[in-house]
Amino acid sequence: SKGGREELVKGQGRGCLLKEIHLNVTDLGLGYRTKEELIFRYCSGPCYDAETNYDKILNNLTHNKKLDKDSPSRTCCRPIAFDDDLSFLDDDLEYHTLKKHSAKKCACV
């Protein structure tokens, strides 16, 4: 069903996971006027078990306010590969193609 429960993509445990959700293209908020739909896949989840010394150090330095106002990023659950492009026809019968719009593979980076 559309816009409802995200499903986990099969075969993945906990942590940084590939999830998918069935949406209308209009839900993407990119301004396209069309009735077409898509499966949007994204990466989400914690990355604790992928942290390096660098991240531990960052965590401590931020905690001890050693880095002034800087707030550098710690490991993020991000796509390392994107889905194939998505093409659709809008209400004015013009075609559009979305590139790098949906995740295909996730990892902690």
Partner: protein, 607 residues
């Protein structure tokens, strides 16, 4: 000899008796002495198909007969990948003059397509129509200007003995206009009674009446039969009105430019296929030995089919246009009469040619600034690449094939070296799509030096082929006394700014006022009127990457970018952003178009 039908088709059933006629092929005579001799011909003569033996053809009448009675097993013997209860059998009938009957199979052939139905013939009680006429639309064709003769058998042989005690006869319904067609009652063949002229009428819609007399009643049925009249090149080309065209060549002098046209009419048809077609082929010849004319001009020929103007019969309109095969020099002055002989090569008669005349006048184009001097006031706050204004020799916007280059020279060379160095401020570049020049800010350092007050240039325009040159004066006046170095704009791009506030305080490249300008879009969805920050709303964005903007991608990426565009957008014609959703802004590697209220990210650091 020629066949009056492109294909013959009939239906045969199980039980069709041996010796029964199936259909009759006709061959029309081209010369009185010709008599057709018919023969069956197969694609693979050594190994004709299984069903070849089921038929034989009367060589003189062209009537195809059954050689055997068709059985249920005959249907099954025809292997085919289809299921269905019908099989299509293709025969080929050739026709040669009797004198060449030995080589009959090598003469022109016509397809005979028989639909063999896996059922017995319908009985006498069924529709009368099936006794009279074959299924589907029926049509024939004859060539114009040819001999009379039989062109079609109207009887439906395969249904002849379904109702043995019915008598069937045909006639052509007398129409409003006289039709040179009749039925030979003895043979039930349709006959053309006199030569016909396609240029008078190319399609005859006969009504064939079939009278079926049963024991107690007379049934009258009819069906339309279309007779297409084939064309031959029997009419000469002619000109309607003028055979000459006056051509003036002035500002447009570039190779490929087309001038004027003359029409030649021909009541015959002209097939556009095959390419090197043989019918109604027109060939043209430039009637001159003057090499200058031959090297400079070429005549373009195209044709189209028309009906209305030829009395609702297809004819051909040939169009001849004069075209330049090279650029004409800017100072060329010449009057030429160019004659072009058009020859209808396939017209047998003598008057198959028409002479066309192009009276050509070539005027020289003066390269001059007639009584014009340019004065521009320039703000010291202008940033680099700001467009100041446009310069143009007389009629420059009309030039095609005349290449003008603009340059700036310093009027008074004896000024001090300090003042001399002020003159790096302005430069000129030739526009990309017309022969005007665009003045733009080339160096902003002189803006901060009080000694730079006004600049007196000599604007030089030089034509590139004959090096013709003209000059005029250009005065640039700085509007303020001087500005502090602190106000100096840095060479950055306005397009990076995503909101009005930061945009209008930002000093980006290409801004005549020194500040960027905000364009607020009002439309919903993806629109050409997207919000964006621009150095100069007169030229950016305008969907066109002009000569100054193309000097540096950061001046107006909205018109010139090739980088990926993220978010709802429509790319321009090869470059730039034609339409965008909400606000479009650009960095060096990417542009973005997104809704304004989404500006502030939820949280910078989501991780």
């Amino acid at each position: 000899l020629y066949f009056p039908q492109s294909t013959y088709s009939e239906t045969i059933y199980v039980g069709q008796p041996a010796g029964a006629p199936v259909l009759q092929v006709h061959s029309m005579r081209e010369r009185p002495s010709e008599e057709p001799y018919f023969c069956l011909s197969w694609r693979n003569i050594q190994k004709p198909p299984l069903y070849a033996a089921w038929f034989h053809l009367d060589p003189l009448t062209g009537v195809l007969y059954m050689n055997k009675t068709l059985e249920w097993t005959d249907f099954d013997s025809l292997s085919s990948s289809t299921l269905g209860y019908t099989r299509k059998l293709t025969l080929k009938v050739a026709a040669a003059p009797v004198s060449q009957k030995a080589t009959c199979i090598h003469h022109s052939r016509v397809d005979v397509s028989l639909t063999f139905i896996n059922a017995t013939a319908p009985s006498c009680g069924q529709k009368m129509e099936k006794l009279c006429f074959p299924d589907g639309d029926i049509s024939s064709h004859i060539k114009e200007n040819r001999l009379p003769g039989a062109l079609r058998q109207l009887r439906r042989f395969t249904h002849a003995d379904i109702c043995p005690n019915y008598t069937i006869s045909y006639r052509v319904e007398a129409g409003t206009i006289e039709m040179p067609f009749a039925v030979n009652n003895a043979t039930s063949e349709l006959v053309v009674t006199a030569p016909v002229d396609r240029e008078e009428k190319e399609l005859y819609r006969l009504i064939i009446v079939c009278n079926v007399r049963t024991a107690d009643m007379l049934h009258r049925l009819d069906t339309p039969l279309l007779i297409n009249i084939y064309d031959e090149d029997d009419t000469a080309p002619y000109v309607n009105g003028t055979d000459s065209e006056d051509v003036l060549i002035e500002f447009s002098r570039s190779e490929g430019t087309v001038f004027g046209h003359v029409f030649v009419y021909d009541r015959d048809t002209t097939p556009s296929y095959p390419k090197d077609q043989t019918e109604n082929k027109f060939v043209g010849t430039l009637m001159t030995n003057d090499s200058w004319i031959k090297d400079t001009f070429t005549i373009l020929h195209g044709f189209r089919e028309e009906k209305a103007m030829f009395g609702n019969v297809r004819g051909t309109v040939h169009e001849y246009k004069l075209s330049l095969s090279r650029n004409v020099l800017v100072d060329e002055r010449r009057s030429v009469q160019l004659d072009y002989l058009v020859n209808d090569t396939t017209y047998p008669g003598t008057e198959g040619t028409v002479m066309l005349h192009f009276n050509i006048t070539i005027l020289p184009v003066p390269i001059q600034f007639s009584n014009i001097t340019y004065i521009f006031v320039l703000s010291r706050k202008s940033s680099i690449y700001s467009q100041i204004g446009k310069v143009c020799v007389d009629n420059c916007l009309k030039f095609k094939g005349i290449d003008i280059v603009y340059q700036l020279e310093i009027s008074d060379r004896n000024v001090s070296s300090d003042v001399l160095s002020c003159y790096t401020t302005v430069n000129v570049a030739r526009s990309l799509e017309e022969m005007s020049g665009v003045l733009y800010v080339n160096d902003t350092k002189p803006f901060y030096r009080p000694e730079c007050q006004e600049l007196q240039y000599v604007l030089v325009a030089q034509e590139q082929q004959k090096q013709l040159q003209t000059k005029t004066h250009l005065l640039i006046i700085f509007d303020e006394l001087s500005i502090k170095m602190a106000e100096r704009p840095r060479s950055l791009t306005c397009a990076e700014k995503r909101q009005r506030g930061e945009c209008e305080t930002f000093k980006g490249m290409g801004a005549p006022t020194g500040r960027c300008h905000w364009r607020q879009g009002t439309d919903k969805g993806i629109s050409e009127n997207y919000s964006t920050c621009s150095p100069d709303l007169r030229t950016c964005p305008d969907g066109y990457c002009d000569v100054i903007e193309s000097k540096n991608m950061s001046i107006c990426p909205q018109d010139c970018t090739r980088v990926p565009i993220i978010g709802g957008h429509e790319r321009g014609l090869m470059l730039g952003i034609k339409a965008g959703y909400g606000t479009c802004y650009c960095y060096s590697e990417k542009c973005f178009c997104e809704q304004d209220e989404m500006e502030e990210p939820i949280c910078d650091d989501m991780c």
